[in-house]
């Protein structure tokens, strides 16, 4: 924010494609296509010839773990919406939070590029079935704790990944952190 000769800075809302401080645009951050290098599961063509593929890089592991965590959160929301929150006043707000997780998942999946013929597929991991408490207050408390844990895991994990992925994970972590007070408020009125 450069101050002009009159020392008045302009504080205006950003245009949709505004460049953020690091020089990355929303499109670049979200698609990971233009400036960011998508994360390859196994980059080397000759790996199959050699036998055992090398273990995935840390950012691949984190990205895969984050995708699985998002899928688990989405399953939890579906279970609560189909069970204790069915017909409840909270359903609409829970559905809105669920939509945000689906947006997170879509962006995370775009970052994971699976080479053709790769042994490691992007098939949804066999996530353990999550148990939902039968009462709404209990179910909301479980969701809240899961959101808090997911946000914390991301905040720690993003320290060691490339910058553009770190920004996406930080944003998702912040989003999940904002779900916690919403869920806690719903629980108090449940």
């Amino acid at each position: 924010m450069a101050a002009g000769p009159t020392r008045r800075a302009v504080l205006v809302a950003s245009a949709p494609e505004a460049v953020i401080a690091s020089g990355l645009t929303r499109r670049a951050v979200l698609t990971g296509a233009a400036t960011a290098v998508p994360v390859l599961i196994s980059g080397c063509r000759g790996v199959e010839v050699l036998g055992t593929p090398p273990p995935p890089a840390p950012d691949v592991r984190l990205l895969r773990a984050t995708i699985v965590a998002e899928q688990q959160l989405i399953s939890r929301y579906h279970a609560v919406l189909a069970g204790p929150a069915k017909d409840a006043a909270a359903a609409q707000r829970l559905a809105a939070l669920l939509t945000e997780h689906e947006q997170h998942l879509a962006q995370l999946r775009k970052r994971l590029v699976v080479p053709a013929g790769s042994a490691q597929s992007l098939a949804p991991a066999a996530t353990p079935a999550v148990r939902t408490p039968p009462d709404l207050a209990g179910a909301l408390a479980t969701l809240s704790a899961a959101e808090q844990a997911a946000a914390q895991r991301l905040a720690t994990g993003l320290l060691t990944v490339p910058p553009s992925l770190a920004q996406l994970l930080a944003s998702i972590s912040a989003s999940e952190a904002t779900h916690v007070p919403v869920l806690d408020q719903l629980r108090r009125t449940a």
């Binding site: 008045r8 800075a9 401080a21 809105a96 947006q103 905040a155």
Partner: protein, 183 residues
């Protein structure tokens, strides 16, 4: 105690003091060298956003009912931004750079006359702050990434409280109008 022993002790104490001063100088040099020009640029951007928020929350608070819960929230958020501003100023100074001073006045992005407009301004201020901290998250320094993530989350929480709804990607440009979980 003999004079010789006292002298030896005094000399040892002086040696220790000199060593401590050398260590402190080395630590300061390291602190300066540890921050890249990109890091300083990102910190300056975060500082500019916090300065704008510190100014803007003054306007927000002035247009809320003084005895309301929202007014108390605005006061708490105002203090948080002032503290963040001071902390960033100290970090930039420690890095051997000069913190860019705040402009004396700002042109506000919205015309504020009602409590609803004041809340809109608070949301816009937080979105600016969140974007700026996302710049810290792109840096290689772990400590600055951690600070960026922490402050991004704090800003997203404040924005969600003012907006009465959440967004999928706080801090990424273009989130302003979109909202989910609205009330």
């Amino acid at each position: 105690m003999s004079r010789a022993v006292a002298g030896r002790r005094a000399r040892a104490a002086r040696r220790q003091a000199r060593a401590a001063r050398r260590q402190a100088r080395a630590a300061r040099r390291q602190a300066r060298a540890a921050l890249s020009p990109q890091a300083v640029t990102a910190l300056q951007a975060a500082l500019a956003a916090e300065q704008a928020a510190s100014y803007g929350y003054g306007v927000v608070g002035a247009h809320l009912n003084a005895s309301s819960v929202q007014s108390r929230s605005a006061d708490a958020d105002w203090v948080a931004h002032q503290q963040a501003r001071d902390s960033l100023t100290a970090m930039i100074t420690t890095a051997g750079a000069a913190p860019v001073p705040a402009p004396v006045a700002y042109q506000l992005p919205v015309h504020v006359q009602t409590p609803a407009e004041a809340r809109s301004l608070a949301v816009i201020l937080e979105e600016k702050v969140a974007q700026a901290y996302l710049g810290l998250v792109a840096l290689p320094e772990h400590s600055l990434r951690a600070i960026g993530t922490r402050e991004l989350t704090a800003s997203a929480l404040r924005a969600a409280a003012w907006r009465h709804s959440t967004v999928a990607f706080p801090g990424l440009p273009g989130q302003g109008g979109k909202s989910a979980a609205g009330s």
